[in-house]
């Protein structure tokens, strides 16, 4: 009952029957403390994550849509930060521009949040002949938006975007799994991609840290142990 009242922002008569009336604060006011806290918590979380979207939509329209989202879609994840993810999907029915702005803002959050790989080979190590695999950097995000496919990547702690063609996005997705040189030779051998084209892509991506080289024993989720 209390849950429903807080969530739907409505007092329920039955609730007054179970809440202790303790002047000078009325029961209504006591419920309102929780109701207001709920609203503020969720709307602050969305406002913090989607400042560009708010700017694009204008304050009034943004406030209206976050209220609708909060009313229709209650949080179900134990981490409040994840509530924002659903908001992007919720905006899919809004104009394409608004959806793209929100989707990109969420990509920035994910790219910023991603951990740095623990084992990363330098180009010197690779030139010395260390065996290696190639994989997408954990901070790299790829998302198909209304008209384009966009990649976000992290370079020197800054987040950048890259619009990619369908063929390029196909190969970026390919590197979600770690790939060996033999895998790449196999692709070229089967004529799936020209050697020069692949080398060119890898060179560009490596420079931007969209991909990185890891030793074969490493796993992407390896982390520093204190």
């Amino acid at each position: 009952m209390l849950h429903a009242s807080i969530r739907h922002q409505q007092p329920y008569d039955e609730l007054f029957e179970v809440i202790k009336e303790a002047p000078p604060i009325s029961s209504q006011k006591r419920i309102d403390i929780y109701r207001r806290a709920y609203q503020i918590r969720l709307s602050e979380c969305l406002r913090e994550d989607f400042t560009d979207t708010c700017q694009k939509m204008g304050e009034v329209a943004f406030e209206k849509i976050i209220q609708m989202y909060i009313d229709e879609i209650p949080p179900k994840t134990s981490q409040l930060a994840e509530y924002s993810e659903g908001f992007v999907e919720y905006l899919k029915n809004s104009s394409g521009d608004v959806y793209e702005t929100a989707a990109k803002e969420w990509m920035v959050i994910l790219s910023q949040r991603a951990q740095e790989p623990l084992y990363k080979l330098t180009s010197d190590q690779i030139q010395m002949g260390e065996p290696y695999l190639i994989q997408l950097h954990p901070a790299t995000q790829i998302k198909k938006l209304v008209h384009t496919t966009v990649v976000s990547y992290r370079l020197n702690e800054e987040i950048f975007f890259l619009d990619v063609e369908a063929s390029e996005s196909h190969w970026i997705v390919y590197f979600r799994e770690p790939r060996s040189l033999d895998d790449l030779k196999g692709l070229i051998g089967k004529g799936e991609i020209l050697e020069e084209e692949l080398m060119n892509l890898l060179f560009q991506w490596m420079k931007k840290e969209i991909i990185y080289c890891l030793p074969p024993f490493a796993k992407q989720n390896d982390f520093y142990r204190f």
């Binding site: 849950h3 969530r7 809440i19 202790k20 403390i33 989720n221 142990r225």
Partner: protein, 298 residues
């Protein structure tokens, strides 16, 4: 007899604003840190984040307490197995010195309000939360601490007081207490009870940690905002807790209007000063009582 919990000294609620200080030049003013568990747990889809990597590095220099807000122990919902799994992953990596959550519920039917909601203090609610704490402790293979929350409403016809409820939880679930002094003060104003009487009821051996924080005064009620320095009345209560329980691991929570580290450090140093004064005066009174006792030897 060995105490259930050892004194870790003075700690702080580590927030992102101060993380770089802990990474670059670990401060000497605190000997341990507490973090909000959910901010470091792996995400369902995305896995571990950079914040977890930073915490692992901080852990090298400081014991870490994991303080959760989403265990939802008081709810009639069953415990969320995904949450528990991720909590255990974090526990295995960080090896925290303390794991805690709240004497509260946060949602039902899989929905969460991301708030700490008050429980009805009934036998039924008591049995429910004891069962849940027991499940968590069995799953993690260790004792957890439960924090007394601040609250803004009470249910009619309680079968016991909050402190009685809390005592029974501690005993039956064999868990520890994270005693939040500010929460007791906030609730005492909001519900009109004597906070010292509340403290007197607490079994001292169960207190594993103490929280101090600031609140905001809304005229006819207080809100536990953690956005201000600790109120003088809360410091008084802290002093009283020292008389009752002795020195316990104590930390400062600050979640809003977070000041510069140097400013926060002044409050942290104050905790140490109060503790030392208590220890000194206790020694003096101990000495005095020994001088006046017929069997005293110096």
């Amino acid at each position: 007899m060995n105490p259930l919990f050892k004194d870790l000294g003075v700690g702080v609620g580590l927030r992102p604003a101060h993380r770089s200080i802990f990474l670059e030049s670990p401060p000497k003013s605190v000997s341990w840190v507490e973090v909000v568990t959910e901010n470091y747990m792996p995400w369902e889809k995305e896995g571990w984040g950079k914040s977890f990597q930073m915490l692992s590095r901080i852990r090298k220099n400081f014991p870490v307490a994991l303080h959760g807000v989403s265990l939802n122990l008081g709810s009639v919902d069953t415990l969320d197995p995904h949450y528990l799994f991720r909590l255990k992953q974090l526990v295995n990596q960080i090896e925290p010195v303390i794991i805690s959550d709240h004497l509260a519920w946060t949602g039902i039917n899989g929905e969460t309000l991301h708030d700490l909601l008050p429980l009805p203090y009934t036998q039924e609610a008591l049995n429910n939360i004891i069962f849940k704490i027991d499940q968590v402790q069995n799953y993690l293979g260790r004792r957890i601490l439960i924090e007394n929350p601040s609250s803004y409403l009470e249910f009619k016809n309680p079968e016991m007081s909050e402190v009685e409820f809390l005592k029974q939880v501690l005993k039956a679930a064999d868990c520890g207490l994270l005693l939040d002094i500010n929460n007791i003060y906030v609730s005492s104003v909001n519900h009109g009870f004597n906070p010292k009487e509340y403290l007197k009821e607490i079994p001292g051996d169960r207190v594993g940690q103490i929280h101090l924080a600031g609140h905001s005064d809304q005229g006819d009620h207080l809100i536990d905002t953690h956005d201000a320095p600790v109120d003088p009345k809360v410091w008084d209560l802290y002093n009283y807790s020292l008389e009752l329980f002795g020195v316990k691991s104590t930390m400062l929570e600050r979640d809003e209007k977070i000041p510069e580290w140097s400013e926060l450090e002044i409050e942290l140093l104050n905790i140490g000063v109060i503790q030392n004064e208590f220890i000194k005066s206790n020694r003096t009174s101990d000495l005095a009582s020994r001088i006046h006792s017929p069997s005293a030897t110096l």
